[in-house]
């Protein structure tokens, strides 16, 4: 059973004395493509201010789950709730950053970031028929976008089109584009998968900085602004940037637990086999490799090991660790 690790950051964003402010909830989510069962009975609660990483073997349904949360591919059974409201399609309460196609190629960096507020605060007829008022409002929105880009150290690239920027810059702009909308939850689908090692590390540090903004706001009595669910196949990355690791896997004891509803010897779909706290790092500190290695070995054993028949309850310990079993997953 995983144990809570020491962390290099002083205060985790998760306050175990307060009832959880649940942003994302999965209730009995199941999904299949015809006879092929992908997701089985997923139940999960992600709390405001968390950076949760979703890991799992290739083909286990991570992206399917993310699409279900996004609302583009609703699950066959079960419900996805964001802030208590059931998801029926993509909406502005969920931000999304993909590995590729993250930016509009016909807009500059600042216009890409300003695109969301523009759509959100004005209408098509307003922009078409009230050009003077629209021009004034556009100036304000662009100024807001520039401010965010400066915070993300992109001041030199504001006027550049995506094809003129590096992959790392594009992803940074894509994150700014999502963050400016202040979504309830930000979904990142393998966002740094196509980046080189150095850029990838920079981006990871950017996520850590967002997490530490959460901590700071919370310490000042505010509501943490960023809740992030990141899908990644890089275990080191997951452990480094997230404060919670969720493992989705098709390698679990479905035959023994009487869950072989799909037929004999057919997996009913991947389920959560691991859910535990992760050490919290700070972008200014050295990476403590021993903390990464310890949890990585544990996740490999529990989530990725084809020969090991995992009992899901053994690895799903997050709420036990935080609340002593006071709240279910």
């Amino acid at each position: 059973m995983p144990v809570e690790r020491s962390s290099t950051a002083p205060t985790p964003v998760f306050d175990p004395t307060q009832p959880p402010d649940v942003v994302l909830e999965l209730a009995g989510v199941q999904h299949s493509f015809g006879d092929f069962h992908v997701l089985h009975d997923l139940n999960l609660k992600v709390v405001r201010g968390q950076v949760a990483a979703l890991v799992g073997p290739s083909g286990c349904g991570k992206s399917t789950l993310l699409r279900a949360i996004l609302g583009t591919h609703p699950p066959n059974n079960g419900r996805v709730l964001v802030n208590g409201t059931e998801v029926t399609g993509p909406g502005r309460d969920r931000g999304m950053v993909y590995q590729r196609y993250s930016l509009y190629p016909f807009l500059t960096a600042e216009e890409n970031v300003a695109f969301g507020p523009m759509l959100d605060r004005t209408t098509l007829p307003f922009r078409a028929f009230r050009p003077l008022k629209w021009r004034a409002q556009k100036k304000e929105i662009l100024a807001e976008a520039r401010e965010l880009l400066v915070r993300l150290k992109l001041e030199a690239s504001m006027q550049k089109y995506p094809h003129e920027m590096s992959g790392g810059m594009c992803q940074r702009v894509a994150i700014a584009q999502a963050l400016i909308m202040k979504p309830e939850i930000l979904l990142l689908d393998e966002p740094f998968g196509a980046l080189d090692e150095a850029t990838r590390e920079e981006m990871q540090e950017m996520i850590l900085d967002l997490y530490h903004d959460n901590i700071q706001v919370q310490q000042e009595g505010g509501v943490p602004p960023y809740t992030i669910l990141i899908v990644t196949h890089e275990l080191n990355e997951a452990i480094y940037v997230a404060d919670r690791i969720i493992g989705l896997s098709q390698y679990w004891n479905w035959e023994e637990s009487g869950q072989a509803k799909a037929g004999p010897h057919r997996c009913p779909g991947a389920t959560f086999v691991y859910d535990a706290v992760a050490p919290v790092f700070h972008s200014d500190n050295e990476r403590e490799m021993h903390l990464l290695n310890e949890q990585r070995a544990e996740i490999r054993e529990t989530v990725f090991n084809e020969s090991l028949v995992t009992i899901p309850a053994a690895g799903v310990t997050f709420w036990q660790q935080r609340y002593g079993g006071g709240a279910s997953q």
Binding site: L70, T72, G89, P90, G91, R92, R94, G95, M96, Y98, R100, Y101, S102, Y104, P105, F106, L107, F115, G116, L119, D120, L124, Y161, P162, H163, Q177, A178, M181, P183
Partner: protein, 266 residues
């Protein structure tokens, strides 16, 4: 070496050499023809061509107009209105087909069928249905370019905009109309402009053919009359004007595309 680049200066020199070779070949042909028949007008000399320029620019004693001015106005006004209507129709249809499967099912088979019929073969239908007035030219150009242009827009709307960008637009608060106008249309615009530019040639073919058959003014009409009179001085001048205008329109549309879509990699 295949596709190895050349210097800009070499490119310009080779371009000038190409033009000079054609001009010299024409001069030689004209010279040979005039050795045989000194009054020949089928391959006019450069002096005769200059006289042709004077003729198309002088005031006509019967109509009181200058031929070239009248014909340029008539032909290019028809071309402009016809192309504008055709492009507008194509963009609307192409976007609807690229965005909605029901629209695709409704229009795509018909457009694919219409695209196979040469518009010049449809002239008889337009003469009967619309008459031989200005509207006929506009309809012929619009419906002539529309099937293939609409299919280009449709394919671009369907294939050039990844689903991810559309989904992302919804997360940014876009409505369906905003996704079509602010995302799909914006991304297909360079392809629309390029396709419209390439359709300019076929549109001119339909227009000149229709003017040739039923026009009372315009390039097709004037070339037909002067060819019957064997006055090739005027015909060649008109051809040169057509070539020049086509070149200018082409360049203008490329520049427009570069201005409107600076992000588009050629």
């Amino acid at each position: 070496m295949i596709r190895s680049p050349i210097r800009y200066r070499t490119r310009v020199i080779l371009g000038v050499v190409g033009v000079l070779v054609v001009a010299l070949a024409y001069t030689w042909l004209s010279y040979r023809q005039h050795q045989i028949n000194p009054t020949d007008q089928t391959i006019p000399t450069w002096q005769q061509l200059a006289a042709g320029v004077g003729k198309v620019l002088e005031v006509d004693e019967f109509s009181g107009d200058r031929w070239l001015v009248t014909d340029v106005k008539a032909t290019f006004y028809r071309l402009f209105v016809g192309m504008a209507s055709g492009v507008f129709l194509s963009v609307v249809l192409g976007l609807l087909m690229g965005c909605y499967s029901a629209m695709e099912a409704l229009f795509h088979p018909t457009l694919s069928f219409l695209a196979k019929i040469p518009p010049t073969a449809m002239m008889a239908v337009f003469f009967v249905l619309v008459g031989i007035n200005f509207e006929m030219y506009v309809c012929m150009i619009a419906f002539g370019v529309m099937p293939s242009l609409a299919q280009t827009v449709y394919l671009s709307a369907r294939n050039d905009v990844p689903d991810e960008l559309i989904h992302k637009s919804y997360t940014l608060g876009a409505s369906q109309a905003e996704v079509i106008w602010n995302v799909i249309y914006k991304q297909t615009l360079p392809k629309v402009l390029d396709a419209a530019r390439l359709q300019m040639g076929p549109a001119m073919v339909f227009l000149i053919a229709a003017e040739w058959m039923v026009g009372a003014e315009g390039f097709g009409y004037r070339i037909k009359i002067q060819q019957r009179l064997l006055d090739m001085r005027v015909v060649y001048v008109y051809l040169i004007v057509l070539g020049g205008a086509g070149f200018l329109l082409d360049t203008a549309l490329i520049r427009l595309r570069r201005r409107l879509c600076p992000w588009y990699a050629e």
